[in-house]
Symmetry: C2
Subunit: 102 residues, 2 copies
DNA sequence: ACAGTAGTTATATAAAGTATAACAAATACC
DNA sequence: GGTATTTGTTATACTTTATATAACTACTGT
């Protein structure tokens, strides 16, 4: 059974990928971390984490179009997988249950 | 402002210290991790984590009496501090808020 | 073609997570 | 009273997460 755990930052990023829907890519995630979680990190921190999440099978990525504005490389868009959803819920439930006992 | 974050295992241990009240020491925590969180770890893992938590000021420890049963060294009992409580609540609220937006 | 902008990859280091093994102190039993 | 046994903590080492800095890639406007 599930031997894998999400680190705390991994969990946060995974939640934000869900929240951002079809606009979940590196820089947008970095921005969302600031807005929704008051977490200021560098872009390298974000990419390192999504790479790990993808390797573990919790998210998938595919290249989207380039930016609508001027300039810019193509975006790498992330979406959560079934097992990603499962582990998010599991992690939430575990904590809710514990808080309930306190 | 709070620059420190709780790792996911740190948060779990901190919650269990609250739950165990005046019986929060190494081996009891290890047992509680199994019971309440289905997490099987070695005792070294637990002690490494509480040492970090104490260094960060989220818990305090003092030596309690020895075991009531036969044998045994004195227990090192842990209690959560005010800043420990604060960070636990902060971490919980942040996640609840995010889940709310999803 | 060059400068600027949007984005990702590569590399390196610190912090968190975890295990194995050693040590310490108390008790029981012969 | 010494030795084996139980309860517990410390020391040490290693792996995985978390994070930063810097380099690279690709597109766009002039």
């Amino acid at each position: 059974m599930g031997k894998e755990h999400l680190g705390e930052f991994e969990e946060l990023v995974l939640l934000l990928i869900v929240l951002l829907k079809d606009e979940a890519y590196g820089l947008a995630l970095r921005h969302a971390l600031k807005e929704h979680a008051d977490r200021t990190v560098t872009i390298g921190a974000v990419h390192g984490t999504v790479n790990r999440l993808e390797k573990k099978g919790f998210i998938e990525s595919n290249l989207g179009g380039a930016s609508e504005l001027r300039g810019g490389r193509r975006k790498r868009l992330f979406t959560i997988t079934a097992s990603g959803k499962k582990i998010l819920e599991k992690s939430r439930d575990a904590k809710v249950t514990l808080w309930g006992k306190i």
